[in-house]
């Protein structure tokens, strides 16, 4: 697969269906693994990083678990290509900014991706649509088993999987769920909810993960601890918490309807109108409008909008994607223009 081929579709996890898809956009599980035979990437010379890449590629070729996947070497991609992989949630900013000795394996439908030589030798992630951490865990657990058949991971019975950062030591697993919480934001309850989440040792982050701020009412909620609980316990705990947040958001949506239905309908429909007609639009504005349209769709105010198209737009309107679609570098103003055109086309807006 060439990197350009990624543009023809978006990840399967963006299909917009699955359990609680009206509030949960996607679920992700990641595992960190290190190979016993080498020092961690941060303390490895270039030739050792390359050896790890080769060892990993060899393991993938010998195993049937990751058939049909593509390996990208970061040094062979330019900056826009790497940024595009970040925008698709396939890898981290950190992985894109310092490409030496780094690789990324992606399976056909972008369900699985594996960063090689990020902070740990392997960062395996599985993405699913809706609230579906259990399924993501089953998939990633099978891949981990298959890989550990071919590679010896750094592991101690007393500590679990050994990682570069002690915050990951143990299961080295993080489960995270992307939630759309517009009603909790509009009813000004969101800070209360986020505070409760952090008290329970869970983290909340923005749309692009670590170090990003929430935008368009999207919040990513994940576990923090990796010792003292089994993987399945951790997943059950996240599920329990997420179900409560879903309930709160549902109640807040009902409250909005009761309080001022016409106001809500106006907000939703204006957003829809703007998206279908705007000629210049920033990604921040676009994401805020997507959030309103999505809310309208999930509350039955808007019909005839495709959930999947809306989800895909989150990815397609990012800077690197716009430049890949256009086939050349675009400055900020050109991107805002191109973004508006991509949105109009996708949502079937008439070029009035």
């Amino acid at each position: 697969m060439r990197i350009e081929e990624l543009l023809n579709h978006t990840g399967e996890w963006l299909r917009g269906t699955g359990p609680s898809a009206h509030i949960v956009m996607s679920s992700r599980v990641r595992l960190a693994r290190n190979l016993e035979a080498w020092t961690f990437p941060g303390r490895s010379a270039k030739k050792d990083l390359e050896a790890v890449l080769k060892a990993f590629e060899g393991a993938v070729n010998r195993s049937s678990a990751l058939k049909g996947s593509t390996m990208f070497e970061m040094t062979e991609l330019d900056q826009v290509d790497r940024q595009m992989l970040v925008e698709r949630h396939l890898m981290s900013h950190e992985h894109a900014s310092n490409p030496e000795g780094k690789g990324l394996l992606v399976t056909a439908e972008e369900v699985v991706s594996i960063m090689v030589n990020e902070e740990d030798h392997l960062r395996i992630q599985v993405m699913r649509s809706g609230l579906n951490l259990s399924e993501a865990w089953d998939i990633i657990n099978a891949i981990d088993d298959a890989l550990s058949h071919e590679l010896t991971f750094a592991f101690l019975p007393s500590c679990g999987y050994l990682t570069a950062c002690p915050t990951n030591t143990g299961t080295a697993m993080r489960g995270s769920v992307m939630m759309h919480l517009p009603a909790l934001v509009m009813t000004k309850q969101i800070n209360k909810v986020l505070a409760a989440i952090s008290k329970l040792s869970f983290a909340s982050r923005g749309f692009y993960g670590e170090g990003t701020q929430a935008s368009g009412n999207f919040y990513q909620i994940s576990n923090q601890v990796s010792l003292g609980h089994s993987e399945l316990d951790i997943i059950q705990n996240i599920n329990g918490l997420i179900r409560q947040v879903i309930e709160q958001e549902e109640q807040a949506r009902q409250a909005l309807l009761l309080q001022n239905k016409p106001m809500l309908e106006d907000k939703v429909c204006r957003s829809w109108g703007l998206l279908k007609t705007a000629r210049i639009i920033s990604s921040q504005e676009a994401i805020e409008l997507f959030s309103m349209v999505r809310l309208g769709l999930d509350m039955g105010i808007l019909k005839h909008v495709d959930h999947k198209a809306l989800n895909e737009l989150f990815i397609m309107i990012q800077p690197a994607h716009l430049q890949k679609i256009e086939g050349k570098k675009l400055n900020a103003f050109e991107r805002d223009t191109k973004r508006a055109a991509v949105i109009r086309q996708k949502l079937g807006g008439k070029d009035v």
Binding site: N34, L35, E36, A37, W38, T39, F40, G42, R43, A51, K54, A55, E57, G58, A59, N61, E119, N141, D144, D145, S148, H149, L151, T152, F153, A154, F155, L156, P157, S158, C159, G160, Y161, L162, T163, A164, C165, P166, T167, T169, G170, T171, M173, N191, S201, G211, Q213, A214, S215, V225, S226, L227, G228, H229, S230, E231, D233
Partner: protein, 165 residues
């Protein structure tokens, strides 16, 4: 880019351009870096027995990472660091996770491999092995692109040669 700061339960929002946001985020990392947090945490878990002199020379026996560097940057250098810095890490892990008990999965291969020596004895040379065999094994594992095995055998050969000197 939007930045929400919560200081003493007071919420404030900043709206920043991408460039400023990046600068601000670097600034915050300096202020609240994980390294500082870890340093703070591990300070309180300093074992009573360690003398000042000993602390400065504590290094990982495999990768040579000084414990001081771990305290500064918050990242370990290799799996062996967990054994080398064990007394410091036990308390630290409990503070981070609320427990230092591992209850997760065990690699399917791990129990089988336990028969062979591991943990700090990665490259232990068995009495019946000789240099020629090892070199041959090294060649064949490179040929079959099993670079992980090759790296282990390479370490064995090094140990073998050290022993011979």
């Amino acid at each position: 880019m939007h930045l929400t700061e919560i200081v003493d339960e007071q919420l404030s929002e900043m709206h920043l351009c991408e460039e400023c946001a990046r600068q601000k985020s670097a600034q915050m990392e300096q202020q609240f870096g994980l390294a500082d947090l870890l340093a703070g945490l591990s300070d309180t878990s300093k074992p009573a027995s360690s003398k000042e002199g000993e602390k400065t020379v504590l290094k990982c026996s495999r990768c040579g990472l000084p414990y001081e560097d771990f305290r500064k940057f918050g990242r370990l250098g290799c799996g062996e660091c967990y054994t080398s810095f064990k007394e410091h890490l036990t308390g630290l892990l409990r503070k981070i996770h609320g427990s230092n008990k591992y209850l997760g999965k065990t690699p399917p291969e791990y129990l089988e491999n336990q028969a062979a020596p591991t943990e700090g004895a990665l490259a232990l040379v068995l009495p019946e092995e000789n240099l020629e065999d090892l070199k041959q094994q090294l060649q064949s594992s490179i040929a079959s692109e099993d670079f992980e095995k090759a790296a282990l055998i390479r370490d064995k050969i090094r140990n073998f040669e050290k022993k011979d000197k």
